[in-house]
Each structure stands twice: as structure tokens, then as C-alpha cells.
Symmetry: D2
Subunit: 300 residues, 4 copies
């Protein structure tokens, strides 16, 4: 048994050094942060490993966009699965808007009058939807014939000018999956065209071929889940085609006891064959905006 | 100000009476259960109100299936949005299988060897997938040409023999939406056919027309969220086409602070116009398998 | 393996019947509520079992006072351990005040101006402290010489006129322990006298003799924890003198991962000898104001 | 309104720099970590401010001991309130034992057989109690006459040889309060003597004079709560004698909705006068073993 070494803090300490201290203490949240950093590092260096990131939660309003972009650019992610909401917020910033530091201690009626949409303690001007609409009007002809969600998203990424998750995935040719795309501002804009009787060819199951193929042909796989929801579950499903993921990192504040997939411990996946019996995994019970930057800064 | 009346428990008490006591105490979890029952009752009686249920989490393994079916049959739900997982588990039981009372205090490697999939503290034999495969093989020709997820699901509901959520929605002509359907056992089965080069016509955005239309044409709307994820968010999105929901009930164990949609308080929707400024709403912070039966038993 | 039986809700259903349905489903929160009811019933009927209730959280403002009193009167509790806060709120109501149904969506500055103290979504007029002060002034001579916290609290219970937890414990001669009594309105009032140079004889460790003796001499023991904190831990400590509790029920919303005692699963106590290896126990992850009334109504 | 600046991670980044990025994003968990660091820094530099640390949770087994000691030595804390458990674990290490990195995925019966006590995912050999007993036997005569818990603890701190929280408080003459001391291994050891008929003079309310005096005479006050329970509440109570704390930092994983003091937002204290209307405060919803080292490393 290894002792819990009491952590020491030094002035001017680097994140890497702090996480090393956490590794030596080795328990509770700190120990898990350290283990996540260790797994992320090992996963990155494993040339045989295809790495999937499942990204849920309001991560663009929450300030995580550049970290995701950086991870995409630096070989930490071979396939991204995310929510339509994150991609919409990514587009919103790419179209020149910003999210704002707000508060939840506020009368939402006042915000409504001012045309401000609240995402917990961030604010977004509702007028972003006008620009989104303009974008989808201008590019509708290019988008309407795509049958595959990944191609549809890469197309958007190819049109967008500003640095963004979408543009980076397009440029780096990193597959980006979004099975729940209808449930988002992007879906809403496309619906605007459907409602006018226009046709949109995007198909619901088409992308399964590609994500399943990546999983099936990979020598080894690794999974990173930031939040749960569809992104996590969609990757978990693909893992059933593998010998089980060799690496797993999950960052969530959801609890396991209510029984849902989002809060499920990674080890549960062993029973399904989604995680390898010998897989290294860790559940980090922490706000992702704290844990992800910390883990990434310790490894980068 | 109304005083907190201390709750009294009587032998042989009815659920309705217990919830009345909770209403008199009026605070914390108990007060919210009572408020949810009150809103559910009022929403049900409001003839002008279109009622949307967003259902996430492992609710079929968790024993909630019959309650959902009963709510569908008795006019509590005009449109259902759920996850592919819930519908897969619904099919699993309709095909003659059961879920089992298990435990999370177990070695998942042992379960894996025995072919048992764990969903927190429930177990499911992995062989259900063989029957699912058989079902989708037998009915592929009928399903492959559907372009609309709701029609696709109704078709499944029309084929299924045993009582189930799918069959009930089909028979009662209650629209059932599942934007993330690719992320589920159903998706997996359809992928099996795609992988063989067969074509499946299901489209990603098509259903938006119908859910938006229901929202747009409704005089009033009410929302019930059991868990968060895509089901909640997809309904919230539709609410933007209304004057805001008049009634809102949310049952979740997720917290608001990490910023994601699943844990967001309903009142946040006021800023977006998703909830009416005068809407009655309540956030019940409780395991859904406790809160939903209790609230429903108090109202039925 | 027992199947998860889907729960059925019937009109006019009794709480007992609802909890039976929960027992048949057997999993997640519902299954745990049912198991807690079963354990509570068995513990009550076990004549050899000394039953300890650890009560933390704002349970009097939360409307649970009469349930606790009822449990005390009906043989569910042989020893009560609670916080000074709960006893202070119990006294506040015994002195003729009430707690009020408030809200957390409020400007606390406004409340401060109005002399209203907020306890989450309950309100209490700050002037209760004047009456508390009067009580402790009038009865100081009777209280100052007590050396034992239990006797001190029984004395208060003997003076109080209105039904209350304190009065019930006194009348039923149920030991009531409060090791953290200095941390409460009661402590504050006694400090008022200390500050004037008066002497108060209450000793810190004295009560250990009695609680340890109850544990040591009991043939069997059972523990009920509503919330964690000192009340839970103080009983757990006494359990070390037994062969381990035979029954255990814990109701909490705290999670285990941060490592604290309040969120610790009961089974952890087995390693310490606080819970018997053969003990029946359940962790109910639920707001106590929902779970406790439900469990008690199912058993009463 | 300030925009949410997306966080950038640089190789070899210092913790201070990471927290600055968090400050620029400004929202969710990251924003709160940054705000906590800012408040801690300001509180430290404010010469008029008396700083109270309330420390609950298994912080010594969790690897936080040296951080607390360092904060005590470097002027971050003028008064410490903690649990008996933390002080017992502090003594355990001072007596030459260690805590071990364990796991919660284990059969507690096996641990029990091996004499290992589990504290979530840490292990402690049960034989530590023999050394504790020896310590209290050897020093009983020196301890039995103390009437004041702070003096009692300082006395222990004066006897202990190894660096520890207790020794540091003694040497730095930092008052250390522990109103729930009977609820701990220390209490258990003293009970051993009481049970033999020996007298122990420690009084329950005596320390209130000192903590109240510190609060009352302070020009300004600041509070840091790591976890809730008695330590938080005891300081909150003392704050009622001030004009309200000018600074407040709370690190907890407890939620506010069940209504207990541990999960209560700091701003609630404004209604009571425990927090100044102009006080700067932040609730960090995070595992303390992650948040505390990070915040402290950013400031030190």
C-alpha cells in the first residue's frame, strides 16, 4: 500500500508540479485529477490508440473552446462527438459574437425584456440568432444536399472564417459527430428552411458507418468524456465494436445513483465490453471548467 | 407569509394525503413534490394546454415504464421526447426480456464473462441484442423507407405485440420524438444494415416540422422533464416558438452550477422565452424513480 | 435474479402500496426507499434492538418536527443525536414562533433590513432570539449547574410547555445527545451569560458515558441517519463498542467521492466494525423531507 | 458586461497563470476558483481582517494537512475551527502512522478482517488507536484539568513532537476550536478514562468566550469554509457579533436544495448579518482536495 503523501504547495508552482503533488497524495478528487493527467499523457503517446472525445455541457460559454481547439490541433483527439448546442455556440463566436460573464442571481424576466439569453451564469444576446439565420440562408444551397452529419459540419467548418471547433475539425480532417444535431440552434435554422418547404437531405443514421469503422479498425481506443448525454453514450456504443477502450477519462458532476448513463462510472462499461478489462480509467467528479484546464495544463 | 406547517403522518395514509401534508409544509424537497403534483393536475385539466414529456435516464430499467404508459393513455402527454436508450429498453421488454435487480457492488469483469450488461444496479442479459437484431432483420423492409423518426418509431410500435411505450404512442397517435436515435441499440441495429450496404432513408431534421408545429399551434403549453439531456433541450427549443410554456415540472439530480442544460433551473427558460413569465414551474431535485411515482400517484 | 417489475400506480393508492410497488421494481431510488421502509419495520419489531437516530440538517424549518416527535413517541427511537440548530428551531416553535415558506430567489439584503433570517427557502423572524434570551434568562439558574448535555436538554424539555422534540424526549425519557451544542442558538444564549462572568458547568465529554453505555449494553443496535455531520459520526463512534449495527438507514444528498463522513456509504462502516458484516443497510440518496415522510408513512 | 474570454493553456504554465485564465473566462467552476483566489489574496493583505478557517471533511487522510499547516504558518488563518476527526487524523500522523491510498471498490468485510479502517478511498490501520490510547494514558494528568477545549488542544500540540496542525496552532498561538470534540477519536480516548471513573474537566461552552471575543473585537473579518458541518456553522454564529464578514470563501460539494447549513450559499448569511452586505464572497462547488491546493498555489 502506498501512503497518502501530504501535498506541498510552493510559490510559483507549475500546474504540472501541482498535479504531481496530487499524484503523491493519490486520493479523492486530487488523486483522480492526477490519474486523469497520467492517462491522458499515456493515451496521447500511444500511437496505436484512436482517441474519442465526448463533449457535453455548455463548454463554449464556459470558456473551454480554445482548450478543445488546442487538443484537436495537437493530436489529443481523433474523433469528436458533441452536442448541437456546443457547435451552435462555437458558430456564434465564429460569427463575431461573444458570451458574457453574467449571474444567476437575476430576474430572468428582466433579461427577457433586454433580449439576453441566460446559460446559468453566462449571458448571450438573443440577436445572435439573426446572424445564424443569415449564415444558413447564405449557405443553404451548399448545406442542403449533405446526407452525412459529419460532412455537413465539415462544410460549415470550411465556410467559417474565424478559428473555431468546427473550422479546426474541418482543417485537421478530424471527424466530428453530432447525432442529436436537430436539437440545437443549427437544427432550428435548418428547420426554418424545412418550414418553407425546402428539402434538406441530412440523414439520421449515416454517420454510424464512419464512427463504427474508426472503432472497428482501431488497434486500441481511448475515450474522454466531458459531461455525459448523447456524446458519451454514442462513443460508448461504438466501443462495443472494439475489444473495449484501453483508456478512459470521465469528468462529470452527475451522480451514479439515479441510474442514468451520464453519471455512470466508467467501470460499468467493462460489463458491456465498452471498456477493456485491463483498461486504465478514472472518474473525475468535478466541474469540467476546473478539471479539464488543469489536466490539460499538466500534460501539455 | 405562510407558515411551514409541520407534516403529520397517519397510519394507512394515501399518497394524495401525504402530498397534501407536503404542500402544507411547503418547503425543500417535500414542498416541491407537492407543487409538482399541483402543477401536473392543473396542466392536465387545462384543455388548451399541449403537454410535452421529455424523458431521459434509464427509466425502463428503473421501473418507470408502466407509469409512462399510463400517463400516455390518460391524457397527461401530448408529445413524448425521449432517448434511444429508453426506447431500446422498451423494445427489449416488448420482445419478452426483463431487466433484473442487480447491484453496483460487483466485479464488472465477472458480469462481462457471464454476458450481463450493467446499468447501475440493474442487469440485462446481453443476448437481448440477438432478438433485437432478429426484429430489425424481419422488419427492415418496412422500416428502411421511413424518412421521419416519429413515423419510424410508430411503425415499430405498430409491429410490437406487447404493451410498451412504443406501442402505446402508436395506438394513441401520440407523437414520439427521438432526435438522438442513432445513439441507441435501435441505431446499432440499423447500422448493421447500413454496414451491409443497405440504404436507410431516415432523415435527421424532418421531425422538427412536427414538433415545431405542435408548439406553434398550441394555445398553451406545458413541459415535464424527467432528467435532462436531448429530450429536455429539444422540447425547450420548441418552446421558443410559443409564448413560453405555461407549466413546467423538472425532476433531476443534476446541479445547475456546472452550467449544462440538464441541471439548469426552469426559470432560466424565462430569459429565452421558453417559459412564460407567468408560467408556474418547479424544479424537483430528486431521483426520478422516487419523485415521479409519488407525484403521479398524488394526482391520478 | 429477481426481475425489475414495472411499477403500477392506482388511484387513491396508499403510501404503503406505493412503497410495495417500489419494492417490486427494487432498483435506484425507489428500490432504496422500499428497502429503507423494510429495514425500519424490522428494526422496530426487533425487541433486542436499540435504535439510534442521528438527525442533521434544517429539519424543523423543513417541516419534519412532528414526524420526529411521532417516531419518538412510538418506539422508533431509543436515543436521539442531533444538532444544536435543530434543537434551537424546536425551541423557537415551542416558544410560539413559526418558520415561514420563503424563497431563495430573493435579495438577502432586503431580508436583512426586515429582520428576517433565511434558511434556504424558509424564513424566520430574527426576533425569535429575544424570546430565546428571555427563556434562558428566566431559567438560567436551573440550567447553569447541569454538567451533562443530555440532562441540560431534558431540563429544557421539562420547562417547555408546547409539544416539541425536547419536551417529548424529556417526557419519554429518551436520551438526547448534542455534542456540538456550543454551536447553536442555545450555545449563543448561554454564552450571553458566560460573557457576563457567570459560570456554566456543562461538560464536553460527560455524555459519552451514557451513549457508550447504551451501545455497549445493547444486544443489537440499529442506526438511522437523516443527514450526516456530528449526529451521524457520534453514533458511528458509539457503534464501535458494539458488534456493529444490525440495521442501518441513511438518508442524504451528500456524495461519497469528496471523502467526508456525511456522504460515506454505510457499508464503509463494516471495515471499522461500526456496521455488522451481516447488517442490513441502505443508503437513500434523497432529500430527507421527501424520503423520511414516505418511509415513515409506509411503515406506521 | 465582460465577455467570457476563452481560456488558453500554455506548456509549463504556472498555477497562478492558469488561475488568471480562469479569471478571464470568469464563469462556472473556473470563474469561481479564480474569484476565490482573488478573495483569499485580498483577505490576506487586509491587515484589519481576522481570518477564520472552518475545516470539515477527511482533510488529513485526503492529503491537505501540509497546506493547512502552511496556511497557519503564513498568516492566512487567525482562528481555526475543525472537527475532532481531522484532529485525530492529525495526531495519528504525528504519532508516526500514515494513511494509505486505497479504494472503495473493495469488500469491507475483508478490510475488517485485516484491521483496516476505510475512509472512502483511503485506508488506516486500526492499530492507530492503540498508540492514541497510549498517548492519552501518558498525558492524561496534564489534560484532565483543562476546562477549555482550545487550551486542551494547545496542550496536545505542545506535547506532540512531529509537525502537525495541532503543534503548529500551539506554536503560532493560533486559537483552535473544536466544539464537537466529544465526537472523535480524541473523545473516545478521553471516554476511556471517564469510564474508569476518572474526572475530566473540559467544559462545553467555555471556548465561546474566546471565539466571540475575536469576532467582536475584529475590525473586519474573513471566513474560509472547507466543507460545512459544525466548523462552518460555529464560525457563522460568531460572525453575528460582527458587522458581517467582509470576505467569504466556501468550498463544498453539498447542494443548497435540501436546506442544510453545509450546502447553504454564503449570500444567505447576509440575511442573518453573518456576511456583510458589501462582503465579497464566492461558493466554489468542488472537491476540496482539488480546489484548495489550486487556490492556495495561485496565491502563495
Amino acid at each position: 500500500m502506498r501512503p497518502v503523501k501530504q501535498m506541498d504547495i510552493k510559490p510559483g508552482m507549475k500546474v504540472k508540479e501541482l498535479v504531481e503533488e496530487m499524484s503523491k497524495s493519490g486520493v479523492f478528487g486530487a488523486g483522480r485529477i492526477a490519474k486523469a493527467a497520467e492517462i491522458l499523457k499515456e493515451m496521447k503517446q500511444d500511437k496505436d490508440c484512436k482517441k474519442f472525445l465526448g463533449l457535453a455541457g455548455a463548454m463554449v460559454p464556459g470558456g473551454m473552446k480554445n482548450i478543445i481547439i488546442d487538443m484537436l490541433k495537437n493530436g489529443y483527439i481523433d474523433a469528436l462527438v458533441t452536442t448541437g448546442a456546443n457547435l451552435t455556440h462555437d458558430m456564434v463566436e465564429a460569427l463575431g459574437f461573444e458570451h458574457y460573464q453574467g449571474t444567476s442571481q437575476i430576474d430572468d424576466k428582466e433579461l427577457h425584456k433586454k433580449g439576453i439569453d441566460r446559460i446559468y451564469e453566462t449571458f448571450m444576446p438573443n440577436k445572435v440568432y439573426e446572424e445564424l439565420e443569415k449564415f444558413f440562408n447564405q449557405n443553404f444551397n451548399e448545406l442542403k444536399n449533405e446526407t452525412n452529419i459529419k460532412e455537413f459540419l465539415w462544410k460549415i467548418g470550411s465556410i467559417i472564417k474565424k478559428e473555431s471547433i468546427l473550422k479546426t475539425c474541418y482543417e485537421k480532417k478530424i471527424p466530428i459527430f453530432c447525432p442529436g444535431i436537430a436539437d440545437s440552434g443549427i437544427g432550428l435554422m435548418m428547420w426554418g428552411h424545412l418550414a418553407k418547404g425546402e428539402e434538406v437531405k441530412l440523414k439520421a443514421f449515416e454517420d454510424l458507418k464512419e464512427i463504427m469503422d474508426i472503432a472497428w479498425t482501431a488497434k486500441k481506443t481511448g475515450v474522454i468524456y466531458v459531461g455525459g448525454g448523447v456524446p458519451k453514450n454514442y462513443i460508448q456504443q461504438a466501443m462495443q465494436l472494439t475489444k473495449g477502450a484501453s483508456y478512459g477519462i470521465q469528468i462529470t458532476m452527475d451522480r451514479p445513483e439515479p441510474g442514468g448513463s451520464s453519471g455512470a462510472e466508467l467501470r460499468e462499461g467493462i460489463s458491456w465490453g465498452k471498456l477493456s478489462e485491463k483498461g486504465k480509467c478514472v472518474d473525475v467528479i468535478c466541474d469540467a471548467t476546473i478539471a479539464l484546464p488543469m489536466i490539460y495544463a499538466a500534460v501539455k
